[in-house]
């Protein structure tokens, strides 16, 4: 790998690590992170395809409240590095390796979130001493540590000889590699199940069924389905309100109650 490639990979790893905790720019989502690593190594095509495949697996991995989901940032960077880089692994291997790195990334993330408590105590002290810029700095240091969370493991993987990794993965029996390739289509179900678990209350299953039936029995394009879904959803809520409004003024209290109930469901 050229020096430029190495610097670019390290830069991508650091930025992806920071965005992984921020959850803002979505650079850490596989479809972008793998593409960036692919571009850095000079093999964008493999990166994009790996990214899209991993994206479907990780689509439902969400940090809600105080829970920490399996990590997305670290496996995206490392898998893309091994698939697009000199180790030249197949996409199947890249996906299989993403899972252990998702666990490692998750554990590191939990550990850092505990570690940050110390920095927060320092910030309390800084506030007590009226040092606002020190408070600012402590926040940015915490952010930097989250960047290192992906950067350091990436450096460690880069230090291993790519030929060695390639040979090691070649020794994995075809049965296992192909078996994992077969399960990729099934694995995306887990992410969707996680989303469904979060979104669906009893009343909403019907919409899931409608979407499923239309999509499986017709060839209608995803964009068209989304546009129709949006129109129907807005129309349905509008109609429901219209009927509700006509039934009398006592509705507003019920509205708040059912909203509370729905929040509980979510």
């Amino acid at each position: 790998m050229s020096v430029v490639s190495i610097i670019l990979i390290l830069l991508v790893a650091f930025v992806v690590g920071m965005d992984g905790i921020l959850d803002e720019w979505q650079v850490y989502q596989p479809i972008i992170a793998c593409t960036l690593v692919g571009i850095a190594v000079g093999n964008a095509t493999a990166g994009i395809i790996l990214g899209a495949t991993l994206q479907m697996i990780t689509i439902g991995w969400i940090n809600i409240g105080a829970s920490v989901a399996p990590d997305i940032a670290l496996p995206s960077v490392i898998s893309a590095l091994l698939v697009c880089g000199p180790a030249a692994l197949s996409i199947k291997h890249g996906i299989a390796l993403a899972i252990p790195f998702a666990v490692i990334g998750q554990l590191l993330n939990i550990w850092i979130r505990k570690l940050t408590v110390k920095l927060v105590h320092d910030a309390d002290q800084a506030a007590q001493n009226n040092q606002i810029s020190r408070v600012d700095r402590l926040h940015l240091i915490s952010l930097g540590i989250q960047g290192l969370r992906v950067l350091i493991p990436t450096i460690l993987v880069m230090l291993i000889s790519p030929q060695y990794i390639h040979q090691l993965m070649q020794q994995v029996p075809m049965l296992i590699t192909n078996g994992i390739a077969v399960s990729v289509g099934m694995v995306s179900a887990v992410g969707f199940a996680n989303l469904i678990n979060m979104m669906v209350s009893k009343l909403l299953w019907i919409w899931f069924a409608i979407g499923f039936v239309i999509a499986i029995f017709t060839q209608i394009n995803l964009f068209v389905l989304a546009a129709c879904g949006l129109v129907v959803a807005i129309g349905f809520v509008w109609l429901k309100n219209k009927r509700h409004g006509a039934s009398g003024d006592s509705g507003s209290d019920d509205d708040m109650d059912s909203f509370d109930k729905e929040l509980d469901d979510l």
Binding site: L22, I48, A102, H139, S183, L195, M256
Partner: protein
């Protein structure tokens, strides 16, 4: 009001946030979660966002210290919805700096009252609906041969939505102050939440149908041998194709509700895939 008092008020110019402060805070609000911790979650992040305002509004050291401490208390919400809370808090802090009677507790009570509903409203919309739908579009573009267009569109679409929404929320919160809480009672939040849930769940059905694949090789062949006719074999084959993804997804939902970690389910599916492949059932 007598003449003296009037002069007194007139001589003291009200402290206002500058336009640059407002933009600094807007920029900072996008790095709120950098110091997410298990003790007070987004507390340091929120203090970091407020820092430019605190510097501007409280020249007096003791007031400044109090303001920093006030915003280092527990805080956690859906990151993108936090801009609305930021706006409201900015307006309250500004009033307080100009002598309005707003206590620490009042400011904290407003933050606490908003963060729960905003979290319950924002996460399902942004992380549960918009991101999955956009990234599924992007992935489908890639897998149907559009290459880099997929990731680029995903990045641009998400970030335009996010930044525009954040900006308007911060501005609305700042202009309306704590009155914005009245918005919660108009039903607009409920309606938007309802429509998004319906749309999100509908799309989930669509995406599961198109993406979850369980490829059986031999069952259709087995069925046609058993029945001796192609029609029943085909029928069995297509109904398995239809049912397998939804059954698999529902099993996963059930396991997740039983508190099984998603990673164990994935590992289980890998093992199932390897076993199924070696037995010649899956391909």
């Amino acid at each position: 009001m007598n003449h003296n008092q009037q002069e007194n008020i007139g001589s003291k110019k009200p402290i206002r946030l500058h336009k640059t402060d407002f933009f600094k805070i807007f920029w900072r609000s996008g790095v709120e979660q950098g110091s997410w911790n298990f003790e007070r979650m987004q507390n340091l992040g929120f203090a970091y966002i407020m820092a430019p305002a605190i510097k501007r509004l409280y020249p007096d050291p003791s007031q400044r210290k109090a303001a920093m401490k006030r915003h280092l208390q527990f805080f956690n919400t859906s990151p993108i919805m936090q801009s609305l809370i930021t706006g409201v808090v900015l307006s309250m802090e500004e009033d307080r700096a100009n002598g309005a009677d707003i206590s620490d507790d009042t400011i904290n009570a407003v933050k606490t009252a908003m963060m729960g509903p905003m979290g319950g409203f924002g996460d399902p919309i942004w992380l549960g609906t918009i991101r999955p739908v956009l990234s599924a579009f992007a992935a489908s573009l890639v897998l149907s041969g559009y290459g880099i267009l997929g990731p680029i569109l995903f990045f641009i679409a998400w970030n335009i939505l996010r930044l525009v929404f954040r900006y308007f929320c911060q501005a609305a919160g700042y202009h309306h102050g704590a009155n914005i809480i009245n918005l919660f009672n108009t039903g607009i939040i409920k309606n938007v939440g309802d429509a998004t849930s319906i749309f999100g769940v509908f799309m989930m059905g669509v995406i599961v149908a198109r993406w979850v694949e369980v490829d059986f090789v031999s069952i259709s062949g087995w069925f046609s041998q058993m029945s001796g006719g192609h029609l029943i074999g085909q029928l069995a084959n297509s109904s398995i194709d239809v049912l397998a993804p939804v059954v698999l997804t529902l099993i996963c939902v059930w396991l997740i509700r039983k508190q099984v970690s998603p990673l164990w389910i994935i590992l289980g599916l890998f093992i199932l895939g390897i076993l199924g492949y070696s037995a010649g059932i899956l391909a």
